[in-house]
């Protein structure tokens, strides 16, 4: 099974760096992004095709977490998004759940819990993908059968 690829989005550079190191050590592939727009750009690029899960900070300057979530879900509906939030923006995180986020975690979060959530989200995404592929194969087979 391929390594899970995580797009980590937060405007705090040292935070993204520290998280990247720890998640990498836990066997995940990390692509860092420092704003909502950068995250969307990276998803649209070649390396973005590999992304399974986006870990997204809610409060960012410019395009905030909720807006980024909406844009990701619009273009990449299969990619799962986990929201990261401080206490003050917990309502925004719940709003994110309603708009299709996989889960939310409070900042700073337990690394093992985050790893588990990321893995679960990745599994869910890959299951979705394989089901879609199976359905597509069945449809092709049905057509050939005609």
């Amino acid at each position: 099974m391929n390594q899970t690829v995580v797009l980590l989005v937060d405007d705090e550079v040292p935070f993204v760096e520290a998280m990247s190191r720890r998640l990498t050590k836990r066997g995940l592939t990390i692509i860092p992004a420092f704003s909502g727009q950068e995250a969307l750009d990276k998803l649209a690029s070649k390396e973005g095709e590999r992304v399974d899960v986006v870990v997204l900070d809610v409060k960012m300057p410019g395009m905030d977490g909720l807006e980024t979530l909406a844009a990701i879900k619009a273009k990449h509906p299969l990619i799962e998004v986990i929201m990261l939030t401080g206490h003050g923006t917990i309502e925004s995180a719940i709003e994110g759940m309603k708009r299709g986020a996989y889960d939310y975690l409070l900042k700073p979060s337990d690394m093992d819990l985050l790893t588990t959530k990321v893995t679960e989200a990745s599994t869910k995404k890959r299951q979705h993908e394989s089901r879609i592929q199976e359905a597509r194969a069945q449809m092709i087979a049905l057509r050939r059968g005609d």
Binding site: E12, P14, F15, A18, K59, P108
Partner: protein, 590 residues
């Protein structure tokens, strides 16, 4: 330098004096006017009454005396016409007539006599031996010969006692004869002497030469001034003339005069003015005593009332000052509440980094060989990062603490540029996520402002907070803070590119509890507190706004220094007090 307490003391003393004078003035003016008018009217009416009374009295007595003289003249004329010459020249007959007259009129008639045209008394009846007395040279005889009858003035004559004569001319046997009666002075005098007016009033009669025709009860030293107009014949003899003047004894007196004996005599009634106006004087004295007592009452009430009012006022001012501080404190806490969410997030970021770095250290320590060179370098880097983020936390808490410490209303010299920089730094996190850019245009060499640093900080923070909120609602923009100064004042402009304030709201934005924010998001006290603080510092706050363009709030503050000192009679405890200490708390870690 004048302390605030001393200045307030002077203000309250001045206020006490003003209230006292106003109360006294307002009470005294109507009192004096009313009393004055009443007293004057009463005095005039009383005088008129006294004069009318005197007039009546004098007229009555002058008629009495006139009718006495007319009656006596009538007696003698009847005598002259009723009898022949031989009867009248008979002394026995004359004596009988005299006796009859004396019986009828008491001692009024002294004697009777018949005088021929040569002035020789032909017959005489009376107590003196005057038969054959020669009156040819007597003034009265000459006057009597020229008319039908004659009443003389009082004179001593041949007998040496005061008397006057009633003479009637009668034609007998081809010659003029004079029938003469002497009227007893005492009897006539008693007519006048019995006139009593008040305690000091008396009467007397004068002839045209100013000689007494009766004996005055009090010796009247005639200055002639009061009588001169009459004596010169200038007055109407039928009317009573009333004059006041100083009599010979230096006492102010009233003299009422009326003509007698066809204007030949003058009846004078004289009374001391003090006696005539005794009741008036008594009323005036009573009124004066009442006025003085009322005046004392008014002064006492004015004194205690003003003292009490000013004490209450001072107490209310004191309470207001305490309340003001409490409201400012409450407003500040509300501002801190609004800031708290942003600050919590701002602190959460470095905390999250520290936690992750610490977690990374744990991860490294779990390695088989945690002390290899690569790991050691990572451990070192993580430690530095933790330290950096810890310091960042400290900065944030310091910024918040510098604002959250208790309000101190004491006035210091404040550098407004530093204060603006502190406030913008405090709002950095909020503006970062709100798409708001804060620009500052700080004038170099800005003079210091005399103000309470914590209060002034609150003014700027409230204005910038509002501006950031306004810009945020219109989807982002710029808030510009400008500091500038002119000769006397220092200005801070807080301009935003928000939606602007509707004109209907512009007049109300400084009112307490006026807010356009949703319920629970604004107390409506922010601008009201700003207004209160700025006015307390002797400055003002104005706003210009255009819908769709933005708003500019301008705070004007007086410069710290002698030009900013306030007038002595200014309202109490609301002006800046300069202290020689500068506040360094804000500069710490700056």
């Amino acid at each position: 330098m004048v302390g605030p307490r001393e200045k307030n003391g002077r203000y309250y003393r001045l206020l006490t004096r003003t209230i006292m004078l106003v109360v006294i003035g307002v009470s005294f003016v109507p009192l004096v006017l009313t009393n004055g008018v009443i007293l004057h009217q009463f005095g005039t009416a009383y005088r008129e009454k006294i004069y009318e009374h005197l007039d009546e009295l004098v007229q009555k007595h002058s008629q009495n005396i006139d009718s006495f003289l007319t009656d006596r003249l009538g007696d003698i004329r009847i005598l002259a016409r009723s009898y022949d010459l031989w009867e009248l020249s008979n002394e026995t007959f004359l004596r009988r007539r005299l006796t009859l007259l004396r019986e009828e009129y008491g001692g009024v008639y002294v004697d009777l006599g018949l005088i021929d045209s040569q002035g020789i008394q032909a017959a005489y009846a009376g107590p003196f031996k005057l038969t054959a007395a020669d009156y040819s040279q007597a003034e009265w005889f000459q006057a009597a010969m020229e008319r039908e009858y004659y009443i003389s003035d009082v004179f001593l004559g041949l007998r040496g006692t005061p008397h006057f004569i009633i003479a009637v001319k009668q034609f007998f046997q081809g010659r003029d004869w004079i029938i003469r009666a002497t009227i007893d002075f005492e009897a006539f005098n008693s007519l006048v002497e019995n006139i009593h007016i008040g305690r000091t009033g008396f009467a007397f009669i004068l002839n045209r030469q100013g000689e007494f025709q009766t004996k005055p009860r009090k010796e009247v030293l005639l200055t002639r001034d009061p009588y001169s107009a009459y004596l010169k014949g200038g007055s109407d003899p039928k009317k009573t003339t009333i004059v006041t003047g100083i009599d010979g004894h230096g006492v102010e007196s009233i003299v009422a005069m009326a003509a007698l004996k066809s204007g030949q005599w003058l009846l004078c009634c004289q009374q001391e003015a003090a006696d005539a106006f005794a009741s008036l004087r008594r009323t005036q004295v009573l009124a004066l005593i009442a006025f003085l007592i009322s005046g004392l009452g008014i002064v006492a009430v004015a004194f205690f009332l003003s003292k009490r009012m000013v004490n209450r006022l001072a107490q209310a001012d004191q309470e207001k000052s305490v309340m003001n501080e409490k409201v400012i404190e409450a407003g500040r806490l509300a501002s801190i509440g609004e800031l708290a969410a942003g600050i919590a997030h701002e602190i959460n970021n470095p905390v999250a980094i520290m936690v992750e770095e610490a977690g990374w250290v744990e991860d490294l320590l779990e390695d088989e060989d945690p002390t290899n060179e690569e790991n050691l370098a990572e451990l070192r880097r993580a430690a530095i990062q933790i330290k950096t983020q810890g310091r960042r936390c400290k900065e944030i808490t310091h910024k918040l603490l510098s604002f959250a410490r208790k309000t101190d209303p004491a006035v210091h010299e404040v550098n407004l540029n530093e204060l603006v920089a502190d406030v913008t730094s405090l709002l950095k996190q909020k503006t970062r996520y709100a798409n708001v850019r804060i620009e500052t245009k700080l004038a170099p060499d800005l003079p210091l402002v005399g103000a309470s640093p914590s209060e002034l900080q609150q003014v700027v923070l409230n204005l910038v907070n509002n501006a950031v909120d306004a810009v945020d609602t219109s989807g982002g923009g710029t808030v510009t803070l400008t500091t500038r100064s002119n000769k006397n004042s220092i200005f801070v402009d807080v301009a935003d590119t928000g939606p602007g304030i509707p004109e209907s709201d512009l007049n109300r934005i400084f009112d307490p509890f006026f807010t356009t924010k949703p319920v629970g998001q604004g107390t409506g006290l922010g601008l009201s507190i700003c207004y209160g603080i700025v006015h307390k510092l002797g400055g003002d706050i104005t706003v210009r706004s255009q819908l769709g363009v933005g708003s500019i709030f301008t705070v004007r503050l007086p410069m710290a220094g002698p030009s900013a000192s306030c007038a002595d009679d200014s309202p109490p405890a609301q002006k800046p007090i300069r202290l020689p200490i500068s506040d360094n708390t804000l500069k710490e870690e700056g």
